[in-house]
Symmetry: C2
Subunit: 203 residues, 2 copies
């Protein structure tokens, strides 16, 4: 969290205005157990955070400009409704996405983290998307697309974990920890999307 | 599909009574793209299927008896409402779970596959759980728990992929293909759960 998080527009981690997660800390413990998330997972996430933090801008660049930009049904969510590019919107959310990589690896998964997971999820829904940056774009990202894209994030992050000379076993353990965190986050996002007006097409 | 699928009680793949998926084949193409699921993924899934098929009973044993049985909030879904074991129920669903590993790797992802994904998802919900085996148990498996548990399945299946002397790169590619398929299936399950009466606590 050393890189000047307070300068990131719209990055509200730990701030008072962030609504409470629908998931309690006690439920989070169950979610962690379901995902096989242990103290060891946390330890390897920390190791991954040190490896990934300096590379985070490049990773987000790869995901957003290298992959999503080439997939029309995903790229449109960072564009104007008529399909025109909105580079300012993309850049602003990229910065917060970079910070999220660090947060995923280096934060304690406490009430603030839980609440901010909910906030991030809601910023993909009709309740909050576009508001932080004051743009007009698609009203929401369908959750199934975000969930499917996690497979791509998990696969493409692996080489970045192997750049700092760790043993194959350590890279493997860091990667497993990353994947466990992302699956945990997907489970939490489900609960956030489930708070929307129903029936919702956003799943 | 060589192991006598027709003898498996309640295994209804491709049968007329299976309801249609809420997801169209055209949408499935988009889901695949979101998950980075390519022809290569399919090729490595086939390779994985050959490796995993003979080990599938042991894998399911590990997941169900080795891991889930030790987690009370998951184990209860295969037990009576009062917590008594229901070994017959567990054994019957284990057989179908084994077959699912093969289907995941070796089936063509066509309309029948799509429909059966929906059926499997619904068998975790209040709409269909317990009916196939005529048991009384929990009314549903919360989707967030199943989704979180995918992290455990993905991590624990890796060693089984490495037992047949494939190169590290091949094992890696088979594993990535497996993970992409599971993330695709999670995305489909979301859509199945979203067809339930709302608001649903099952997410
Ligand atoms: C289909 C895949 C995805 C697309 C198209 C997508 C698109 C977007 C868009 C358009 C925003 C800006 C939201 C706003 O207007 O406030 C955003 C923000 C963000 N996304 Fe995603 N997203 C996807 C998946 C994910 C996933 C899987 C994660 C992490 C698990 C993620 C993490 C974030 C983060 C951290 C932000 C910044 C939140 C904020 O706006 O403050 N996204 N995403
Ligand atoms: C929290 C984790 C999970 C639990 C506790 C769980 C529990 C169960 C239970 C109780 C059944 C029997 C359903 C019935 O009464 O008909 C079942 C069936 C099955 N489950 Fe799961 N499940 C979990 C996750 C998953 C996941 C992630 C997958 C695959 C992606 C999966 C695949 C299957 C299959 C293929 C069957 C057989 C379907 C059938 O009953 O015909 N399960 N599971």
């Amino acid at each position: 969290m050393e890189n000047g998080e307070h300068d990131i527009h719209g990055y509200d981690y730990g701030k008072a205005g962030v609504p409470s997660s629908p998931v309690t800390l006690e439920e989070l413990q169950h979610f962690k157990i379901s995902a096989g998330f242990t103290d060891d997972t946390e330890r390897y996430l920390r190791m991954a955070g040190v490896v990934l933090a300096p590379q985070a801008p490049a990773i987000v660049q790869k995901w957003r400009s290298g992959i999503i930009a080439g997939i029309p049904h995903l790229a449109r969510h960072s564009r104007a409704v008529n399909g025109d590019p909105r580079p300012g919107y993309l850049a602003a959310t990229n910065l917060r996405f970079v910070q999220w990589i660090e947060d995923t690896c280096l934060r304690t998964y406490d009430q603030s983290w839980l609440n901010y997971q909910h906030e991030i999820a809601l910023r993909h829904t009709s309740l909050k998307k576009n508001q932080t940056d004051g743009v007009e774009s698609t009203p929401f990202v369908p959750l199934h697309d975000a969930v499917a894209f996690v497979a791509v994030m998990n696969q493409t992050i692996r080489p970045y974990l192997a750049t700092q000379g760790h043993s194959e076993a350590e890279v493997e353990a860091m990667h497993a920890a990353w994947c466990a965190s992302l699956q945990l986050q997907v489970a939490l996002w489900l609960r956030s999307y489930a708070t929307l007006a129903n029936p919702t097409p956003e799943l």
